[in-house]
């Protein structure tokens, strides 16, 4: 069910797909025929501007819509792309000629020109070369500006990016040697193709813009439905869970910044080439805000939505409003009302932007064309079907579990975790052999979840060591821990709320797949195969839960029942082919029947070779499943042994129930 021009062959309804392709082709044809039909260079120019802003909106969509990083200074990358081309393809820079420049002249990148007081270098790098080059330079700055924001929360990230967004035009204004400051660049060279110079007619720029937008849309769609896109969306939805599922946050955040910036860099080149000048005022905060309004309006995260939003707002600003003002003025003259005759709606476009922003946030946050598709509801049959259980015996997706290891799988020694003055864990040690089930129990606040957090790297260990399969993992990043083979679920459920069941599970597989950004873009057969296999494996894992999750595989997880969500989280953890599974109160909130079923499923998993650590409050589950139990209280281990032993341990009883005796 993937919207877009290239439909994945294994999914989707054929008729809908064909209708879509037809619709898109029609749209494309209209766009291509637009200039000759309209035959008015001014309007073509306005359309070319609209396309440029659509391209920028697409770039911002990657950073904000996909990855959820609110970038309020996006216009800075636009500026960087523009000034890079401007500096290298105009009369702005003219260092004195020397032999150093000879090879460049040979490549026709520069020319030797007679100047006052000697020959100088005139930069004339080709537009076609500069576009990707500017994109790359912008991407570099994307990484540079994004790096400081990696640890920051949403609004602080926004402020820092806002800061950079302001600094860049100010620097541009104050560096006249590079940018001619406030007066604007002079004489930017128009692009040439096969000897024909673009000159001042807007039409060739329009076509370049159209091609750029089509390409960027294509790239965005490719990214969206790839491992990279899923990683971004995971980060957007829940960064912690994403890390716990193997997503390298640093790498993917920087990637989002870089790719998003590169879109702006390329567009900057086009925009400046068309305008043949660049002034700092063209790249200030209002431009960033306008782009934000465009994607909020059109639908953050939805590629078509963003383009539509951009085009509508741009056309509104430069075309429709002016005409509307003209009509109102004419109306004013007709009815002889003074102020109507002087109304200029175009100047109120910013007011309109503000209103749109507030309105959208209050009433329709998903935008015009929302990112999450609405899926057909289940049929009555499916809804009333008796739940069936799956089985683990046919489960291929788990993968081989290393049998040859001797020694404990997980070994923790003297682990101490402190939060400021509070000691959450104090010198806890445990040792767990492979293929076993260990239960961790204890009253609330005893540090059980903290133990999990320390093992998975979400919380730093102040002292002590954690060895997994012989390797020290204390202090490593969560995604590295996942790669090593430890997966977990969360006490309070950390699914990716706006993503579907399938997408959640696929993200679990993130560390086991290999497609990076380039591969996602190219989608060679090998990558397609990888995706296909991944989906098959995901379906297998989901089949473990019988018909509970399979019919809902394309439903957004926030629409699932609580129990199903728990199951989905487990499926997601399983998808990463872990050697050790940490389950944090997996049966919380389930009724006895569901609890029993899940306990059975956990047992089957263990029989297949998976080692499991279980935090549980339901002691019958503990007794049923666990071979060994450890008890924590106030951050210290107070007992360890088989369930039967622990059950009768005085300390344990006291910790749970105070001084009274029985405990069943």
């Amino acid at each position: 069910m993937a919207p877009g021009k290239r439909v994945l062959p294994s999914l989707g309804d054929a008729t809908t797909a064909r209708l879509r392709t037809l619709g898109v082709s029609l749209l494309l044809a209209t766009a291509v025929l637009f200039p000759p039909l309209i035959n008015n260079d001014g309007n073509v120019d306005a359309a070319a501007n609209a396309l440029s802003f659509a391209a920028l909106a697409l770039g911002l969509n990657i950073v904000v819509g996909f990855a959820g990083l609110l970038d309020l200074g996006y216009a800075a990358f636009f500026a960087i792309g523009a000034y890079t081309y401007g500096a290298l393809a105009s009369w702005q820079l003219h260092p004195a000629w020397s032999d150093f420049w000879a090879p460049f002249a040979f490549l026709d990148l520069v020319a030797r020109v007679r100047g006052v007081g000697g020959d100088v270098v005139h930069f004339q790098v080709s537009f076609w070369l500069m576009m990707p080059l500017a994109a790359a330079i912008a991407a570099f700055f994307g990484i540079l500006f994004g790096a400081p924001t990696l640890r920051l929360k949403g609004d602080y990230l926004a402020i820092v990016t806002l800061g950079f967004g302001e600094i860049v035009p100010i620097v541009a204004r104050n560096s006249p040697s590079l940018t001619n400051g406030a007066q604007g660049l002079n004489g930017v060279i128009p692009p040439q193709i096969f000897g024909y110079s673009f000159g001042v007619s807007a039409t060739p720029y329009y076509y370049v813009g159209l091609t750029l937008v089509v390409f960027l849309m294509f790239a965005s769609q490719r990214f969206k439905f790839s491992r990279v896109g899923r990683a971004w969306m995971a980060i957007r939805e829940d960064e912690i869970a994403a890390a716990a599922m193997g997503v390298n946050r640093v790498k993917f955040k920087l990637l989002a910044f870089a790719i998003g910036a590169s879109f702006a860099g390329a567009t900057g080149t086009l925009y400046v080439a068309k305008l043949q000048t660049a002034t700092p005022e063209m790249f200030m905060f209002p431009v960033s805000v306008m782009l934000l309004v465009m994607i909020v309006f059109g639908g953050m995260g939805n590629v078509w939505g963003v383009v539509v939003g951009a085009l509508i707002l741009q056309i509104l600003q430069s075309w429709f409003l002016q005409d509307l003002s003209g009509w109102i003025n004419a109306l004013g003259r007709l009815v002889d009302v003074e102020w109507l005759q002087h109304v200029q709606l175009a100047s109120s476009i910013e007011l309109i932007f503000g209103l749109i922003l507030v309105f959208m946030m209050l009433y329709r946050r998903q935008g015009l064309i929302p990112a999450s598709r609405r899926v057909a509801a289940l049929t009555t049959e499916e809804q009333t079907a008796l739940p069936t259980r799956g089985g683990f015996d046919n489960l291929q997706g788990l993968g081989a579990l290393d049998d040859s290891r001797t020694g404990p799988l997980l070994e923790i020694k003297n682990l101490t975790v402190r939060f400021g003055g509070l000691v959450a864990l104090h010198s806890v040690s445990l040792s767990m052999p492979a293929h076993s089930v260990l239960a961790v129990i204890g009253p609330n606040g005893s540090g059980k979840s903290t133990l999990f957090n320390a093992v998975t790297g979400l919380v730093a260990a102040n002292e002590g060591s954690i060895r997994f399969a012989g390797e020290e993992i204390a202090g490593r990043s969560p995604h590295v821990v996942l790669e090593r083979g430890i997966a977990r679920t969360f006490q309070n459920l950390r699914l990716f709320p706006n993503l579907t069941v399938l997408e959640n599970v696929l993200i679990g597989m993130h560390a086991r797949l290999h497609a990076g950004a380039v591969k996602a873009l190219l989608r060679l057969p090998r990558t397609q195969r990888e995706e296909h296999e991944a989906r098959e494996r995901a379906m297998e894992i989901l089949a473990v839960f019988g018909n509970r999750l399979i019919p809902r595989v394309d439903h957004v997880v926030s629409s699932l029942s609580y129990a199903n969500r728990r199951r989905c989280e487990i499926a997601r953890a399983l998808a990463s082919r872990p050697k050790l599974l940490l389950l944090d109160e997996p049966t919380a909130g389930m009724n006895p029947a569901e609890t029993l079923e899940l306990a059975d499923q956990i047992k089957s998993l263990n029989r297949r070779g998976l080692s499991i650590v279980l935090i549980e409050h339901k002691l019958d589950v503990v007794v049923n499943l666990a071979e060994r139990v450890i008890v924590l209280d106030h951050g210290e281990k107070i007992a360890e042994g088989t369930p039967a032993e622990v059950r009768q341990n005085e300390e344990v009883i006291r910790a749970y129930l105070g001084r009274s005796a029985a405990f069943a």
Partner: protein, 410 residues
Amino acid sequence: MITRRALIVHLPTAALAGSVLSRMTFAADKSVTIGINVPLTGSDAEAATQIKDGAMMAVDEVNGVVAGYKLNIMVLDDGTTTAGQYDPAQAATNARKMVADPNVVAAIGPEMSGSGKAMAPILSQGNLATITPSSTNPDITDPTFAGQFRPGGKAIYFRTVTTDAFQGPNMANHFARTLNVKKVYVLDDGGAYGVGMADAFEAQAKKNGIEVLGHDQLDPRQANYTTILTKIKGLNPDGLYYGGTSLAGIKLVKQSHDILPNIIKAGGDGVYSASLLKGAGHPAMDGWYATIAAPYIAGNPDVAPWIKTFNEKYGIGPSGYSFTAYDAMLVVFDAIKRLAAEGKPVNRDNMRDAIHTASVKTLQGTVSFDENGDIKDRTVSVFQYEYNDKYPVDDVIHQYKYLGVAPQTS
């Protein structure tokens, strides 16, 4: 989903269709379109309106008909709210619009040189002449940059003002020779116009032997200039020159009145503005010098009735550029008349040639253009502010006392 998407596709299509239809003008038998391109949105809106009004005075005087041709005036706004002022991208779009419309035979504007730089190449390709009443950046008509600004070869950017190549430097001459300033500090407002003025002034000041103690930039969005002014005070100059417009100018005038009360202060035509007077006024403005890049028109008693008519019609006083805009329109009319008399068709190419060879009597005297499109008369007038309580605070003409012509660079 499909319905909503169809709606979204159809809405802009409908708007597009509507706009296209509304553009189909009924071509009258003999009519021509003249474009007026000024930034009616943003911080320059008031000045832009004064220019537009000046041009429209001419149109109204002839009742919209010249030599039998009906005049259609196409007013275009090159200011956008995103820029907060003139926007070169919008100016370029407007230029393209005018060039694309075969009925447009000439244009008035732009107000700002930043727009002019974007528009000139496009107008040149379309061989559409424009006469600007206020754009003073010299680069656009400079033959060194002809390749950039008039790729079509012929001059299309005509001016009824002279350029900053003369405005700033002539004031520097005035500083040196008439006012005997020895040490000066230069400020600009970071805008294209201001920086150009300040730089040109500084270069000429140095040539005249004035010591330039420094050159810094004011941020028009900032409120507090006391830091820089205190620094300047510490350097002890005799004079202060400001290149820029009233946005920063108002604050500068007020604050320098407190901090630097006794030195000579001067600015360019950005200071000779109604909004500056309204914002700063007396006593802060006392003693400030200003220049305009044109001869002193308002002092001419023959012009008084014109000013009176302007006041009555538009409710505000004319700015220095209202006159030059009116003059520009007169040049256009003259060209139309001559072409009609010679029996030549009034089209763009002929208009350009006719304008280039014009010699028209206007408010400022006889206007004619040199080979680059610059006005031949290079007069820069110097004024000094002297509060006149009989007239409204923002009446530029009466609050500024005309001192004379600034000395040309010999």
